[in-house]
Amino acid sequence: MKKLGSWAALVVAAALVVPAWAARVGEKAPEFTATDSNGVKHTLSGYAGKPVVLEWHNNGCPFVRKQYDSGNMQKLQKEWTARGVVWLTVVSSAPGKQGYVTPDEENAYVQRMNAAPTAVLLDPGGQLGHLYDAKTSPHMFIINPSGTLIYNGAIDDQPTPDPASVAGATNYVSRALAEAMAGKPVSVPTSRPYGCSVKYAD
């Protein structure tokens, strides 16, 4: 009996060290402040009343290149920002790691790729990445106008770097945004994000 009691205490202790969710669908999305490639500061609360998409990015990752070389990501950015969505691309690669960019390099990339996010947030220290527990590039989050996270996961249902897979893919982000804007529940609110690991500092 005594043994069992101490075991129960241990289990309770183990439960207490499990940290809170980083970014859980249905809960309030974590507030952040981050600086974009033009030196402008953005806060999540500053976009209250608008849907916000966060897109984790690494320009050297084959899974990201699948989306950008095919023009698919740019198309999504244009389509949804035209419908009032705030689209924030986030680069959390640490200096010296794949995908790390200076502000000038990122602006040149955006222009060269004809990308159209609202802004690109540069997060070389990984604070925003860790706040949302972004695992991969791409890893997509959607926050509704009242600040609740409504999607956390992959960009689509084709977990491969093969560019041929873009055409037949079901895009989870587009579907979730369309459903949310129509006042419907998001049918696929989570999925396994797939891609390259986010290149955080060691």
Binding site: K3, L4, W7, L10, V11, A14, A15, V17, V18, P19, A20, W21, A22, A23, R24, V25, G60, C61, P62, K97, Q98, H130, D133, K135, T136, N152, G153, P159, T160, P161, D162, P189, T190, S191, R192, P193, Y194, G195, C196, S197, V198, K199, Y200, D202
Partner: protein, 278 residues
């Protein structure tokens, strides 16, 4: 340098680099389709495998790759009457650090596949060719996708024998495959607020780590706290942020040490969430 496997008559490869002959070799790895035996016996299962040899610091992925990456995939083109089974996945290693943890293989790994063969349409003295369109993702600090068409031609024989060099690899791969849990053991799980409790009751359990077959159930990067129980062990597994609904079972492998891995399928019992009243 192409490796010849015993009496295999030809080994042809179309690698991504468009090189013909020998194993497919790309940045990060070399891969070859090999056979356990020096021929195919009509009507008897044939054991073949994808032998991946990674360069130092490079890795490929397990069937559940964890937080990033993708497992190797294979599409077979086989003669009439032949049927390939699923890839048999050896127990993986935990790879990566910090908040992104993957499951995969470093060094080298053989992924065995059993192929059923027809008894009627094969004549002794002839030969057959197996083709495998293999794709993979190999990563170090960065990732490189690869693809190769691998072929293997085998003679039809009444009594094929082992190919010593590859037979050793198949035996080693076999010892790394998860075994069924001993009949006396029991596995069960509870779904609690923020975590699963996975209890394994069995003799000699002290240290273990759980590798889930499905992504999106547990947080791969969270430490797995082990608690010793009378007659067993309990692991605390933090739930994934991507977990949408509580699964009916936790399926995976329990790794106790090198060469000691067991397939586990634990029914999940939901415990009531603690009251949130102040």
């Amino acid at each position: 340098m192409p490796i010849r496997w015993g009496l295999i008559s030809t080994v042809m490869v179309l690698a991504t680099a468009s090189a013909w002959g020998g194993p497919a070799e790309t940045e990060g790895l070399k891969v070859q389709l090999i056979s356990d035996t020096d021929g195919v016996q009509p009507g008897r299962p044939l054991l073949v495998g994808l032998h991946f040899e990674m360069q130092k610091h490079w890795h490929i992925y397990w069937r559940n790759p964890g937080d990033s990456g993708e497992p190797p995939r294979v599409r077979w083109k086989l003669p009439a009457g032949f049927q390939a089974g699923d890839i048999q996945w050896p127990a993986p290693e935990r790879l990566g650090s910090g908040s992104v943890i993957d499951y995969g293989y470093q060094g080298s790994v053989l992924l065995p596949v059993e192929i059923q063969t027809p008894s009627t349409t094969l004549a002794a003295g002839g030969s057959i060719t197996l083709s495998a369109e293999v794709s993979w993702l190999v990563c170090k600090d960065t990732c490189v996708p690869g693809k190769a068409d691998l072929t293997l031609t085998l003679s039809v024989r009444r009594a094929p024998g082992p190919v010593p060099a590859s037979h050793r690899l198949f035996q080693e791969a076999g010892s790394r495959l998860p075994k069924p849990m001993p009949p006396a053991w029991r596995a069960e799980a509870t779904s609690e607020s923020g975590f699963f409790g996975l209890t394994i009751l069995g003799a000699g359990l002290a240290k273990a780590s759980f590798f889930p077959l499905e992504a999106g159930q547990i947080d791969h990067a969270a430490p797995q706290t082990a608690t010793t129980l009378p007659g067993g062990l309990r692991l605390t597994l933090r739930k994934s942020d991507q977990l949408a609904r509580t699964p009916g079972r936790l399926d995976g492998i329990l790794k106790l040490g090198p060469g000691r891995a067991y397939a586990v399928s634990a029914p999940v019992r939901a415990l009531p969430e603690p009251s949130t009243n102040p």
